[in-house]
Amino acid sequence: MTMEYTLVPLCEYAVTIRFADRIDERVNDVVHEVAARLEGARKEGIIEMVPAFSSLTVYYDPFVVGSAADVCAWLREHLKSSEPVVRPPARTVVIPVCYGGELGPDLAEVARFHGMTEDEVVALHAGGRYRVYMIGFSPGFAYLGGLSPRLATPRRRVPRTMVPAGSVGIAGAQTGVYPLATPGGWQLIGRTPVKLFDPHGEKPSLLSAGDIVQFRPIGREEFARWERER
């Protein structure tokens, strides 16, 4: 594995490994490969690793691991290793979405903006394969890559004061799902009945960085059934 990187100390207990400064699938692959490699090399005092678009931040306990120089030396050693990485294949997560209507109040607007029918927007959105580049912004929020450029739509001019949890939206070239009810300015095209973030669950976030997401259109009845069974 050969790649260029810089080590950027963030604070007394974290260092960022930056591979590039752009959003790129290949770079993001490297981020996840290195995360898997370091995960396998577990060292006492390493608390956690947070993958981002093109960087990986390692949090450690300075009173266990030692100085930033020690951590950087450990990182360099594992980054140059040529042993193959055992990285499990990306998981595919299918998220059911009820598009349009009151659950996707901006679908009509998005369709009008692109001169398409609502069905065409839904087919294009649900036909995509989306990579989870990283989780951030809010608990369980996945930054998804792979939105068709034909669906890129500017944010709403006036953000909503409250967007319901599960709302599926488009903002510029991005698409995503709101895990929690928050204020927000994304164009809402649908809603999923699936919980993306559950603090009491064994795995609080449905999605992890590196996953592949697909959206499956469902009708109102199926949406209601999901809600009841939850």
């Binding site: 007394e12 608390i47 956690e48 930033a68 990283m134 989780i135 809010s138 608990p139 603090p199 009491h200």
Partner: protein, 323 residues
């Protein structure tokens, strides 16, 4: 059990925070002022990680249903126990029916109310800390309200407690005083991308803490800061103490409940040792950032841990004498 008669301005259950969930977008959170928190816990004989109440600006009014020991540390809040003044930074015995009323803060901004055994709300994702943005932890993930009931843990009972005529020396709370605070900081990852004038200003000028400051972040007001060349940043990890500069040029210091990732250039990182100073700054206070080297920040951090360890050892020693 403790009844909440008045919630105060913004009082939440907090402990040291939840570790290991940044990768799912959940920040560690936890107490803003770890110094006052750890000393308050030590003063009531707790082992260290128990949950306490963190009050902001105006404290709560509480009625106790247990005989236990409490301590209030942090900003200079007027505290009355059954109508009689209760000194801060010292342990005190409370009995069933006693009412603790904490008023409006005179200096500093946050108080920590510790009780033997800790506030025993159920942990969520490994912590009892309240994280209001996601409504998790603490009491239903929100600040205290009148009518709330707080469970108290069954920690070691402080038997045969005398009159507890001791407390911490003033030296423990010196960091709280003053409307103008010096906060040490190291250069942030994008420091070199700011104009030379911005880099100079940031460490030369004073920045005012604005009213739009909370557990998520402190919005500061002062000389505007600019990048040499504007560019779109790719989101990366940020932590408690990261100083971000959005396009307005006015810096924001990220605090305990901030997002885990951010996309604004980071001009500086507040030294971990000075985060309690910042946590006790209130709207209207002025912050003077002082540039230090990374090695210095690490040294200050471990020195602070050592000092904390010494204070806590001295408190434990007093407790052994009591029993």
């Amino acid at each position: 059990m403790i009844d909440v008669l008045e919630g105060g301005f913004f009082t939440t259950v907090q402990d040291r925070g939840r570790s290991g969930y940044r990768h799912v977008g959940v920040p560690p959170g936890g107490v803003m002022d770890v110094w006052a928190y750890r000393l308050a816990n030590a003063l009531v004989g707790n082992a260290g990680d128990e949950a306490v109440l963190e009050a902001t600006m105006v404290g709560p009014t509480l009625r106790f249903h247990v005989e236990t020991v409490i301590a209030v540390c942090g900003g200079d809040f007027p505290c009355m126990l059954n109508g009689r003044p209760l000194p801060l930074w010292k342990p005190a015995i409370v009995r069933p029916g006693d009412v603790l009323k904490i008023g409006v803060c005179r200096a500093g901004w946050r108080a920590y109310i510790a009780v033997t055994g800790g506030i025993a709300v159920p942990p969520v994702m490994g912590s009892r800390s309240t994280y209001v943005p996601a409504r998790l932890g603490g009491l239903s993930g929100r600040p205290l309200q009148p009518g709330d009931v707080l469970p108290v843990g069954s920690g070691r009972r402080n038997d045969a407690v005398g009159r507890l005529r001791w407390g911490l020396a003033q030296a423990a709370s010196r960091y709280i005083a003053g409307k103008r605070k010096t906060v040490r900081a190291i250069p942030g990852p994008e420091y070199g991308e700011f104009t030379p004038e911005s880099r100079r200003q940031f460490f030369a000028a004073c920045y005012e803490v604005t009213a739009r400051s909370d557990r998520i972040g402190y919005r500061l007001a002062g000389p505007a800061l600019a990048l040499e060349r504007e560019r779109e940043m790719v989101s990366e990890a940020v932590v408690f103490g990261t100083v971000q500069v959005p396009s307005s040029g006015q810096p924001i210091v990220l605090m305990a409940d901030s997002q885990t990732t951010g996309g604004y250039p980071r001009i500086a990182q507040v030294a971990a040792a000075d985060l309690p100073v910042l946590a006790q700054a209130r709207p209207g206070d002025h912050i003077q950032f002082a540039l230090i080297a990374r090695e210095e920040a690490v040294r200050l951090y471990s020195e602070q841990q050592r000092w904390l360890g010494r204070w806590i050892a001295a408190i434990r020693c007093q407790w052994r004498r009591e029993q």
